[in-house]
Symmetry: D2
Amino acid sequence: MLKDKDVVFLWSPEKGDTFLLNLEEGAKLDSRLGVINHNDIIGRSYGDGVRTHLGSMFYILRPNVLEFSRRIKRKTQIIFPKEIGMIIVALGVGPGSKVVECGTGSGSLTAALAHFVGDEGKVYTYDRREEFSLLARRNCEKWNVAHRVEFKVKDIAEGFDERDADALFLDVPTPWDYLRQAKEALSPGSRLGILVPTTNQIEKTLEGLNDHGYVDIQVMELFLRYYKTNAKRIRPEDIMVGHTGYLIFASTVRDIT
Amino acid sequence: MLKDKDVVFLWSPEKGDTFLLNLEEGAKLDSRLGVINHNDIIGRSYGDGVRTHLGSMFYILRPNVLEFSRRIKRKTQIIFPKEIGMIIVALGVGPGSKVVECGTGSGSLTAALAHFVGDEGKVYTYDRREEFSLLARRNCEKWNVAHRVEFKVKDIAEGFDERDADALFLDVPTPWDYLRQAKEALSPGSRLGILVPTTNQIEKTLEGLNDHGYVDIQVMELFLRYYKTNAKRIRPEDIMVGHTGYLIFASTVRDIT
Amino acid sequence: MLKDKDVVFLWSPEKGDTFLLNLEEGAKLDSRLGVINHNDIIGRSYGDGVRTHLGSMFYILRPNVLEFSRRIKRKTQIIFPKEIGMIIVALGVGPGSKVVECGTGSGSLTAALAHFVGDEGKVYTYDRREEFSLLARRNCEKWNVAHRVEFKVKDIAEGFDERDADALFLDVPTPWDYLRQAKEALSPGSRLGILVPTTNQIEKTLEGLNDHGYVDIQVMELFLRYYKTNAKRIRPEDIMVGHTGYLIFASTVRDIT
Amino acid sequence: MLKDKDVVFLWSPEKGDTFLLNLEEGAKLDSRLGVINHNDIIGRSYGDGVRTHLGSMFYILRPNVLEFSRRIKRKTQIIFPKEIGMIIVALGVGPGSKVVECGTGSGSLTAALAHFVGDEGKVYTYDRREEFSLLARRNCEKWNVAHRVEFKVKDIAEGFDERDADALFLDVPTPWDYLRQAKEALSPGSRLGILVPTTNQIEKTLEGLNDHGYVDIQVMELFLRYYKTNAKRIRPEDIMVGHTGYLIFASTVRDIT
C-alpha cells in the first residue's frame, strides 16, 4: 500500500505523459490532463489507476532506474540510462560494492550506483561545487538511496580518501589529470570507468592510461534507438540521440617493483 | 588472497588474450603463450601478474559481469552485455529483487540477474530442456551465484509458479503466447522485458501486449561500437555486431473490474 | 559570371545560415542578418562574398545535389541525400540512363536523377496527384533540369508507358502492388529500387519480389551522423536522424519459358 | 546482345554467389558451382540465365557502380559504395564535371567518378606510386571508363596541374599538407572532399581547413546496415562494417584582398 515518501511512476494511456513522483501528503501534481492529488494515490497500490480532476486516467507504475535517471532534476549534463547500464555491467558493480565517483553532477549515476550496491555497499561521490553535491543528495533522497552515499565537496587533485575501491568512475573534463589518484583509490585488478564527450579527450585519456600502467583498456560508444509501437507500422523514431559520450574502461594492476 | 574456486580474469599485455577462470588446485590452463598453473595464481592477489611456462605475462584481474556473460560456456544464442545492462536498468532489478526468467538458455542473463539481486534476492528461471538448465546451473556455479537461482525444467504454457515478481524476462521464440502467464506472475505495476531477434516478432508481441492490457510499451535496439585504443590513431573497429535483438518493455496494471 | 536564373548557395561565416537561391533580377532575399539584393550577386562569381544591407557577409558557393535535395520546397516527405547517394550508386544511374520513378512527391529524387542522367538521359516520373507533379516540376526548373524529366499524372496500376528502362524507383505506400508493372517497364537484368518506412512494408515487399521472380534482393538502411567542426572538441552532433526509410533493391530477369 | 569486353554481373539463386566479369572470347570462369564459359554468355542478353558445366544456374545482370566498387581488384584500402554515393552527391559531381582526385589507390572512386562525369567530363587522378596508377587504370578499363581519366604519377606537394576543377577529393594520409594545392586547383566556390580513417586526422584537417580559409565545413560518417531477406524473419545481418572512414567536405572562396 502506497504511503507518504514512496516513489511512483505515473503513465497516461491517453497521451503517454509520464511523471516520477515522491508522494507527499496533501501535495498536488499539475498536468495538461488535469490535477492529481497525491492523497488519491496514497493508500492505493502499484498497478492501480488514478484520475485527474478532469477525469483523465494515469496508471501508478513502479519506478525504475531508467526512468529515474532520465527524469532527474538536473543542472548539468547527466549520464544516460544506456551508459548507466553498461557502466554497471563493465565495472562489475553489484550488491556490496564500494564505488567511488567524481564528479557528482546532478547525481544521475550516483543514484543508480547507490541503487545497485544495496545496503551493504557504499558510494563515495566527489564534486568541487557544493551546489551540485546538494542537488545530487536531494535527488538520491527522492530515490531513497541517499543513506548509501557519502557526498564529498572536494578537489580530487588532492587524492581520494578511499582505498581498495571495487570500482571508480570519472566524469570530469580532464580525467587524465586524476589517473594516479584513481589508481591509489582502486583495489588492484579493479576497473576504472571514464566518460568523455570528445575524441580529443579520448586521445589524452589513452595516453594517460598507458603512462600510468593501466591494462585491458577498452573504448566504446553506445547507440540507443527507440521504435514506434504501432504493430502495423513498425519503424524507428525519426529522431534519435546521436551522441552522449565515449566510455573508456581500464584495469589497475600492482606496480612491479 | 586468491584461493580455490575463486574467479579470475586473465589478460595478456602481449597479445590482449584473455581468460575467465575458476581456480582449481592443480589445474592447468593452456594458452598460445604457454601453460599457466592455477597453483601459481592461488595465494596471489588481484592485480598481480603470473607467467606462463614460456615466460609470457598475464595480469590477474577482477572478473566482471560483462566479461562473464561474453565468455560463458554456451549451447545457445546468449544475451549480450549491452542488452544485459539495459535490461537490468529498465526492469529496475537490484538488491533484493525477485526476478522470473524464461528461457534459461546458457544462463548468461540468469547469472547476471543473480549477480544484481544479491543474497536477499532470487531468480527463478525456466527452460523446457533439461540440458540447458544444467548448463546454466554450472555457469552460475562458476560465477558463485547459483545459490540465488531456482532452475526449473518446465513448460511455461502451464504458467509460472511465482506471484508478485518484481520483474520478468522472456527470451523465447513466441513471447506473445505467454503474456497472460507473465501478467499473473508479475506484481501489478511491474515490468516485463522481452528480447526478440526479428521485426515480425515485434509485430506479434506488440499486438499481444495490447490485447493483454500492458501499458507504457517501449521498443528499442542498442548498438555497441568498440574503438581501437591507439591514442595516435583513434578510430572505431572495422567490424561491429550489427544486430543481436530488439528489446521490448511493458508494465502490467490491475484489470479494472 | 553569375546571371539571372543561375542557382547559388549562400553561406554565412557568422552564423552558418544558408540559402539556396535562383537568381532573379531585382529580387531581394530576407535573412536574419539583413537583406541581400539579387542584383548584388548577378555579375559576381562563385566564391565571391556579398554583404547584406546590415553589413553581414555571405559567401556565394556552387550549389550541389545534397543541398538542393535537403532544401527543396516540399509538401511531402522527401528522400534524403544519404539515400539519394546510395540509390544512384545501387541503381547504376549515370549519364544517358533512362530512369522511371513513382511517386514524384516533391521531386527531391526526381531532380537528383535528372542531374545524374545528363542531357542524354531521361527521367519519367509518375504521380496520381497533379499538385505534386506541378510542385516537382517547379523544383526541377529551379535546378535547371526539368527538360530532362517527363512529369506524368497517372495511376501506375495501369502500368508504366516505358519499356526497357535502365532503372526504376518506387516510393509508394504499397510497392508490392506494382511489381508486375515495374518488371514490364524495366530492361531485363536491371534494377528496381524501393523505399519503405516500416518493417511491415519490408515483409510484404519481399514476399512480392519473390512471387514476381526478382533476384539478388538486398535490404539495407543508412545512418548519417554529422560531427561538430571545432577541431579541439571533436564529437558527433547531439541529435541525429534516427530513421528515414529502408532501401530495397532487386534485379529483374527474363521469365524462363 | 552481349559481346566481347562487355561487363556482366552474375548472380546465383542457389547460393547467392556473385561475379563481376569482363567478357572475353574463349575465357572460362571457375566457381564452386562449376565452370562457366564466357562464350555461353556472349550472344545472350542481360536478364538471361547461363548454366555451369554442373548445371547450376547464374543470372546475367547489369553491373552497377555499387558492385563494381565493392569487387574491384585491390592492393589498397578502397572507398566503399556508401561513401561513394555521398561523395558524388556532396561534391555535386555529374555529367560534364571536371574532378581531381588524389590518391588513386586501386581506383574504386576513380572509376565511380569517371562513370558519373560521362563522356563530357574528365577525372584527373594522382598517385605517387606507379603500380597503383596502373592497377587503377586496368580497373577503369574493365569498367570501360578509362578514356575519361588522366592517370598521373606525381607528388601533389608540387601542386596539381589543373585549375578551375569543379570538385576535388583527397584520400591521403595527411590531407592537411595539401590544402593550399587543392584550393589552387579548385574553381572558387567549389567543394573539396576528404576521407580520413581516424579522429586525430579530423582534428588536423579541421585546423588546416580553417587556416586556409575554407568555408561551410562538414564532418560526417555513414553506417550501412544490411538486412536478411527472409520475409518471415526480417532482421539485420549479425555483423556489419563498423567503420570505413570520416568524410569531410568544405568549400573554397576567393581570398579577399
